[in-house]
Amino acid sequence: MKLFGLYNYWVFALLLMIGLYAVIAKPNLVKKLLGLSIFQSAVFLLYISMAKVEGGTAAIIQHTAEPQIFSNPLPHVLILTAIVVGVSTVALGLAIVVRIREEYGTIEENEIQARDRDR
């Protein structure tokens, strides 16, 4: 029961490995970036999961009589920053892929290496 009670963390580990596998195994540069994006999203899940307090709500002051339980807002704020970083990384990576396509005429890693060897 305990094992599955923390299933968020299992999903985190699974996504992390799927992303890493795509980065390492796929020769297509766009697929590599997709893998990288999945890899980073897994970390977002880790942070969001740890912030959850059972029965907790959003951390906004509510003027009610009974005391409220709040989820920890700090990891949400942190991960908002990390999402921005992730978006910029993927955008920059795609821009580089476009430039590689212009210069090399291909986005397959092995063909790029072959072209570099012939130079």
Partner: protein
């Protein structure tokens, strides 16, 4: 009043000047903004280095939020030394490099290029002054993303696959670091490095912390380019614009090593059982392999910049080797080598940039006889190369001397380490000799006839950096005191 704001100013000035540079239309004003901002941060670094002495630490609460809750900037002797390296490398490269950049970067891109440069500078300074684990991650990404732009901004298409690899591996490294920080936050509820160190004592279940040690260490040595995670480094250094290489080769890998040492000593060393043994047991073999393998590859490499890049991988090994001895003398040796290697490699890559203005190919056989055509550039290159080898009277000798004496204190293992250091110094002599032999003792190629020396202004900056190698070899006072204080500060976190 304002000297108290120095830690914040050091970060804010380059970051605030970056959009100004981007808004300018042409290269010259943007270059002026970048250079003034860079020299100003160098001045801040000198002032900060003067105001932290011994084990004193300067704490600055951003926005006056009380420290464990708000973001803290924390200046130690270690940060001050790294600040000097970063701002000094950036200033020298910018002052020397306008002419070189004009030949390599298309004119309309110049303002953006200098804006990205200032973002790298501001990001690296931010990493070094920050005392907050998540803040360090953000600055790390600011400087990394801007570095990718600088590396890919040149005209050499081969930089593109290199920078793609750098982007993928750099992002994996930073994400690993982020996972580690998340796991520690989960168990301690704090992001302040010093606060983490004290709160880990109260953690009941250490398993997530141990996982965090792994993630943080692997992530940071990936970003530092320690063997065997160095594969992004040689091509990135080799194909980026020459002046960019001079800047990032002098400081960016060292900043990651700085975070590794600071994080490990402040957070983990004092609170985990047997961590010191595991730290040195894990890093020492990697450092030895880095030194031997990379020096060996450098001996066979045919491209001058790739050769120097492999040499940098070996030098990162020296820094880690010193640190993995876990003694005051070992850490001092590793830390002062960061400074001395920045001087030597910075001067060598500046000289390469000067040579590359006149000669397009940097393959060794195309550089035959340029010692006669470009006497001043090559002489400065050779002076810095002597420092890299560790000839007495140069800065490199100081760090080799401290490294060998620290190794001798370490007993039987130490003797083996001394053999490694001496063997790799001999390999350094071998690959430097290959360059010297090509440059001085071969007849110049026909198409190189009439090649002049680099522009005088560039030569001036180059020689200042090259002569600094001799200056700090004969009078190593300032960096030595800062390194010894840095080592004492790090060891002060041990129980």
């Amino acid at each position: 009043m304002w000297p108290e704001q120095l830690p914040a100013l050091a970060v804010a000035v380059p970051l605030a000047c970056a959009p100004v540079a981007a808004l300018l239309r042409t290269g010259l004003p943007a270059w002026t903004v970048a250079t003034v901002a860079s020299v100003a941060s160098f001045a801040f670094a000198v002032l900060l280095a003067g105001s932290v002495g011994g084990l004193d630490e300067l704490s600055y609460a951003v926005g006056s939020w009380p420290v464990p809750y708000g973001i803290e900037l924390r200046i130690t002797s270690f940060s001050a030394l790294l600040l000097l390296i970063i701002t000094g490398a950036s200033s020298a490269a910018l002052l020397a490099g306008r002419h070189s950049l004009e030949t390599e970067v298309a004119a309309p891109r110049h303002p953006f290029f200098y804006a990205a440069w200032l973002l790298v500078l501001g990001g690296l300074i931010g990493i070094v002054v920050s005392g907050d684990a998540f803040n360090i991650f953000v600055f790390m990404e600011v400087s990394s993303l801007a570095t990718y732009i600088l590396v890919a901004g040149g005209s050499n298409p081969r930089a593109l696959p290199a920078v793609f690899k750098y982007l993928v591996m750099g992002t994996i490294g930073a994400t690993f670091y982020l996972i580690g920080v998340g796991l520690i936050y989960m168990m301690t509820g704090t992001l302040n490095l010093a606060d983490m160190g004290t709160r880990i004592h109260d953690v009941a279940d250490l398993k997530p912390i141990l996982a965090a040690v792994g993630f943080v260490t692997i992530g940071l040595i990936l970003k530092a380019g320690l063997f065997p995670l160095h594969v992004w480094l040689p091509n990135t250094y080799a194909w980026s614009p020459h002046i960019v290489t001079a800047f990032i080769a002098a400081c960016s890998a060292k900043v990651s090593l700085y975070v590794l040492l600071r994080f490990d000593f402040m957070v983990f060393q004092g609170s985990l059982v047997d961590h010191q043994l595991q730290f040195s047991g894990f890093l020492m073999p990697l450092a030895v392999l880095a030194i031997l393998v990379a020096s060996g590859v450098a001996m066979a490499e045919g491209n001058l910049k790739r050769l120097l890049a492999y040499s940098s991988v070996a030098q990162i090994g020296y820094v880690v080797l010193g640190a993995s001895l876990m003694t005051a003398s070992g850490l001092t040796a590793g830390i002062i080598h960061m400074f001395n290697h920045a001087l030597a490699k910075g001067a060598m890559f500046l000289a390469v940039a000067g040579i590359a203005i006149r000669i397009t190919s940097l393959r060794l056989e195309d550089l035959a006889g340029i010692g006669r055509l470009m006497p001043w550039s090559t002489a400065a290159f050779m002076l810095a190369a002597l420092s890299l080898i560790g000839i007495p009277g140069t800065a490199g000798f100081v760090s080799k001397w401290y490294l060998i004496s620290a190794a001798l204190d370490a007993g039987t293992v130490g003797v083996a380490l001394v053999v490694v250091i001496v063997a790799s110094s001999l390999m350094t002599v071998a690959y430097i000799w290959r360059i010297a032999e090509t440059m001085y003792f071969r007849a110049p190629l026909d198409n190189a006839a009439g090649v002049r020396d680099a522009p005088p202004w560039m030569l001036g900056v180059l020689w200042v950096v090259a002569l600094a190698n001799v200056w700090f070899g004969l009078l190593p006072g300032i960096p030595l005191v800062l390194s010894a204080d840095a080592a004492a500060t790090l060891l002060g976190h041990l129980p």
